[in-house]
Symmetry: none
């Protein structure tokens, strides 16, 4: 949806694996779905297209998932769990709040532009395609993830006073970071690390 490239779809083999979006039959479905949902949107993707990318018939999808929406849900659940783990690992390795913020920024930029790009983009931009009850099932995980961010930003506010409202600051940062999926190209002249430096500069000034 965000980058419509109907003419030249990646083959499934070139779509990176992570977590349970692996090379099992189920995982292949999830990877194909994540990719197509990002490229054409959830509504804009048909189960036939997912099946075709996996190399099975559309009816066979329903042996693995009971509905198209459950595929979406599973993609989102996987990426949120995987990303939360990465997030926690990242901040565990450093000690100051400033370092932790940088770790969060890098971690989130990788989540949205790295191997989890498809799934993470879907999580951020297709949230409302999820049913109310499935949204509810994921809220705890999302809240935990966000709390980590806001906690660090609160620490920085207490230390430096620069970050006035941590909640608002977080919202501005998530917008800036998530939007990078629409323009940032790994094969361009800028590295993700240097982009992270710019975001950190914006977040903390100087």
């Amino acid at each position: 949806m965000l980058v419509k490239v109907p003419q030249q779809l990646k083959s499934l083999e070139k779509i990176p694996s992570f977590g349970c979006l692996d090379d099992s039959p189920r995982g292949r479905v999830l990877r194909a779905a994540a990719h197509l949902f990002r490229v054409n949107g959830y509504e804009g993707t048909t189960v036939r297209e997912i099946a075709a990318m996996v190399g099975i018939q559309s009816g066979s999808l329903f042996h693995h998932f009971k509905s198209k929406e459950e595929i979406l849900f599973t993609v989102m659940k996987e990426v949120i769990e995987y990303t939360s783990t990465k997030q926690n690992e990242a901040i565990a390795q450093v000690s100051t709040a400033r370092e932790k913020l940088k770790a969060l920024i890098i971690s989130e930029l990788y989540a949205i532009n790295g191997v989890t790009c498809d799934a993470m983009t879907v999580l951020v931009f297709e949230w409302d395609a999820l049913s109310r009850s499935h949204q509810h099932d994921l809220l705890e995980l999302r809240n935990a993830y966000e709390s980590t961010w806001v906690g660090i930003l609160k620490q920085l506010k207490d230390e430096s006073g620069y970050v006035e409202s941590p909640q608002v600051w977080r919202k501005l940062l998530v917008g800036a970071i998530a939007w990078s999926v629409t323009w940032f190209r790994k094969d361009g002249s800028m590295t993700l690390e240097s982009l992270a430096d710019r975001v950190l500069l914006m977040a903390l000034g100087r």
Copy 2:
């Protein structure tokens, strides 16, 4: 799409007018469409829903527009023209680059959260639902709008050195600002002006 509220849709009367999204038959269709496209996404909105909101039959839509996609195109064209005008008025009234940047930020925040909220959100988040040729028709306007931003940011780079890469800076800012549509509430405790101050602080430090 961004805020799915199918159960309780605003009535057309409560949806603000601007430009040619007025109270003419055509304008009423555009206002209803802009609202529904924002709430349910372009793919998630049916022409019957648009017609029902206007209070006409679905077939009657096609007297005013020759396809659903032309409705989307017209909404986008109107808001981009209206917003560009507002943008130019805003920067014309101040003189320093810093003041101009603030004017741009306020202008864009109002565009995405004010009377043009529906249409502007659609412009930003449903761009890929447009046909290639209609995208092409709007590119000149979009580019002119973006150039104004980048021009001001270049000036600030030359003056202060703070803004290293104006293009990247603009991308981060547009993400932060556009994303506000997903969380900012006019009736909350924060005003758009104070939000603009935070964004300016983030943009220029100090």
Copy 3:
């Protein structure tokens, strides 16, 4: 329908008049309709297209005719009356059965390839688009027209014995003649007169 040329429609001015398919407002509608019905078929022609060719709005058609089908009926009625008159004039001027047959052939070839081409083709090939009751209204005229043919052929049978079954002979001839609208071109190398000679040769041998 028989010769689909959607790209380059004749302008109304170039479509020949006859009978009450003249230059009155009503006649202009009939001429446009006859032409479009021939080119795109009755079902394949919209009232908007007819109106556009005449230079009025589609709603205005219904001041002249109470339905699309009545337009079809009127076209057919006009051409059948006009052609019957021409037929009778043609055979009145000659005396032998053989000469009369030739007159009928020439007359019918002119009907289907001359100024009445549009309407006559519609009469022959769109008969079943007419409602049962309108078909009934025209049957008397059609039967009179056909009786003239069969009468002459009977005479020839009695005289020469060549034409065994006049009814079947007529059916074969009407097929051969009517089909010429699909391939005969007035601006080609063959004239209608020489075509008539061939048909007469086929009809009577020698």
Copy 4:
């Protein structure tokens, strides 16, 4: 289109099979479509009517064919291939040009009035309902079929001199033969064989 009998449609079981218009799911669709296209015309037939005749839902048609027009195309392709084969078989069994012409006439009369009646009539009278590109796909087959006719007529011209212009002669004959579908009834007093004799008499005299 040529014989509108909406009130009392034949059941599918009574519609003869040939080639791949058989009793498979696909073949049943093609047979129903061929029949309805002949009776009501291509434009006058709805996909829902075809489906109803087959005994399936209209959506199910699109598992077998990707559009209504593809159904038309397939009907035409099948009948042209089947008829061409029959044509070649027919002329292979006799030796003189006169006998070959008679074989062609009988073969074509059977094509338009026998088991292939529906499909053949559609081929002849609905050609312009086909898209340009599908027309192009069939042209080679049509041309081969016509060449056979013209070749035999040329031979007869050389032998007897009676057939002056073979191309024109063929056009007159195809009209006479094709038109028989509008009036000839197998259950009437005349057999197809005796009709063929009349056509041969008309074609060659004496």
